[in-house]
Amino acid sequence: MVRVVAAISGNTVRELVRSKLLYNLLVFAALFIGGSLFVAQLTIGSWVRVIVDMGLAAIEIAGAIMAIVIGVGLVAGEVERKTILPTLAKPVPRWAFCLGRYLGLTGLLAVNVALMLVVLAVVLRLAGYGLSATVIEAALLIAVELYVLSAVALLFASFSTPILASAFAFSVFLIGHLLSDLEAFAQRSQSEAARTLARGFYFLLPDLELLNLKAQAANELTAAASFVWHSAAYGLVYAALVLLLAIFIFARRDLG
């Protein structure tokens, strides 16, 4: 079965490598990171902050769009076009299909993050700076965030249409960065129902701010290694949980 999963993930990578969207996003991110060199000239003081800020933002934005749009298309798109049926007609269990798709996508996302980090390092070098450990840690946590988003995209794609699944996944991305405010809202709210609902969302949704080290990196501050590993582990476990749920739902879905 490992061979089946590997074959599907390999196939997914081959499919995605031909995707125009992927290249467009990569070019966008590279241009954005390169453009930071010119924007940084407008600032007073150290350029490194502007370059790191824009660079990490480009990596995250481009990666999040890839994870959501491509992630949704990998399952919901195939179901909608019925192209999934020939694959499932072979001895391929649905869970292997989902897992293979997920691994292919996340593998590609990891390569993209690494590539964009190299572009960022080159731009920083051109400006006379080096790549700090916090920037690398921030990029690592962005990669973990993209794994979470890919799993979320797959979850929504397992029972919904591509457009709706993309909208839901994008909402999770936005709300995931607002969870501390949601908790504050839950504490301040007068309504018991609103408090319960807010608390429910708080515990249910991924806290993506735990995977956000961009401000630390831009301010040339360090983060405790234990925080980075705990956050990364939290993200990976959450992604695995969501992926499991996606597989569970997809396995029971009527594709006819």
Binding site: V39, I44, G45, H177, L178, E209, N212, N219
Partner: protein
């Protein structure tokens, strides 16, 4: 028939183009001034923007900071205070916003400490209290950056004459990694001789030596030059008084003062001008106004 239709279409096109141009001009005339020049507070408070930035708060802070730099770039030489009000308010708002959205933004604190305080021709020091408020927050948020409490100490000593607090903040600066070793001595001097010109000069020269950016260097160079000029003017006036004590009248010129041996040499005016001495023994520069904060004249601090 066809040419009539073409003529009609051309007339309609030209009429519409003319109407659009007229309407555009009249709309431009009646348009309200840009919202940012009218608002004291941003449309979205910084605390809310921090959340709505969805994890990109430091990037948002960069953009407001870059805007603040552009605003400072349009600030012209010394004018009357009311000419600066709108621009200063905008600068304060943008810098306040930058540090509200990203409280760890050390560059914004340092920039605020240099760019916000400035003097006007009508004897006012604007932006000092705003800068102190931003720097106080900066000293709490970034205890690792010695420039922030140092700038705070400078403003408290130079403009507010609050030497106890200034010395405390300078001592705080000595605790941060990378602070110059002589800061501790300077802190002690401020505590003991806060009101002295020499102490203020040393503080300003320290900041000038540490400033890497052109804009910041220019601001600190202006302060150092003003203090050097004040020191020269005081020396000249003291020499003129000695001259009067010996000869019964003030010297007719600076050259006479040097010739009499009361002044070792004619000091070089740091702004590129010359020093003049009047009949009543008062010295002045041909290039710059005398420093109010140390020159005795009243300076209204805002």
């Amino acid at each position: 028939m066809r040419s009539a239709r073409w003529a009609l279409a051309t007339v309609a096109l030209l009429s519409l183009a003319a109407a659009a141009a007229v309407l555009r001009r009249s709309a431009e005339r009646t348009a309200p001034p840009p919202a940012e020049t009218q608002l004291d507070v941003p449309p979205i408070p910084g605390e809310v923007s921090r959340s709505l930035a969805f994890g990109f708060r430091s990037l948002l802070a960069d953009f407001t900071f870059l805007e603040a730099i552009q605003v400072l770039g349009t600030r012209s030489g010394k004018l009357r205070a009311e000419r600066y009000r709108a621009q200063d308010r905008r600068l304060e708002r943008l810098l306040d916003y930058s540090v509200e959205v990203d409280p760890k933004f050390a560059g914004a604190y340092r920039f605020a400490g240099t760019a916000l305080p400035h003097e006007t021709v009508d004897g006012q020091a604007l932006g000092v209290l705003a800068a102190v408020s931003v720097l106080e927050r900066g000293a709490r948020e970034r205890p690792d950056d010695w420039h922030i409490p140092f700038q705070l100490g400078f403003l408290q000593s130079y403009y507010l004459h609050d030497y106890a607090r200034a010395a405390k903040n300078l001592s705080l600066a000595t605790q941060a990694e990378g602070s110059p070793p002589y800061l501790g001595l300077l802190a002690t001097r401020v505590a003991a001789h806060g009101g002295e010109l020499e102490t203020a000069l040393q503080l300003a020269q320290t900041m000038l030596a540490q400033a890497n950016e052109e804009e910041t260097r220019r601001e600190w160079k202006a302060r150092v030059d003003a203090l050097l000029m004040e020191r020269d003017l005081r020396r000249i006036e003291a020499a003129a008084l000695r001259y009067k004590g010996e000869r019964g009248s003030f010297p007719p010129s600076l050259a006479a003062l040097v010739a009499a041996g009361d002044l070792p040499f004619e000091p070089e005016e740091p702004h590129g001008g010359r020093y003049l001495l009047d009949d009543s023994g008062h010295a002045r520069s041909t290039a710059a106004e005398r420093l109010r904060v140390y020159g005795g004249a009243h300076l209204e601090v805002h």
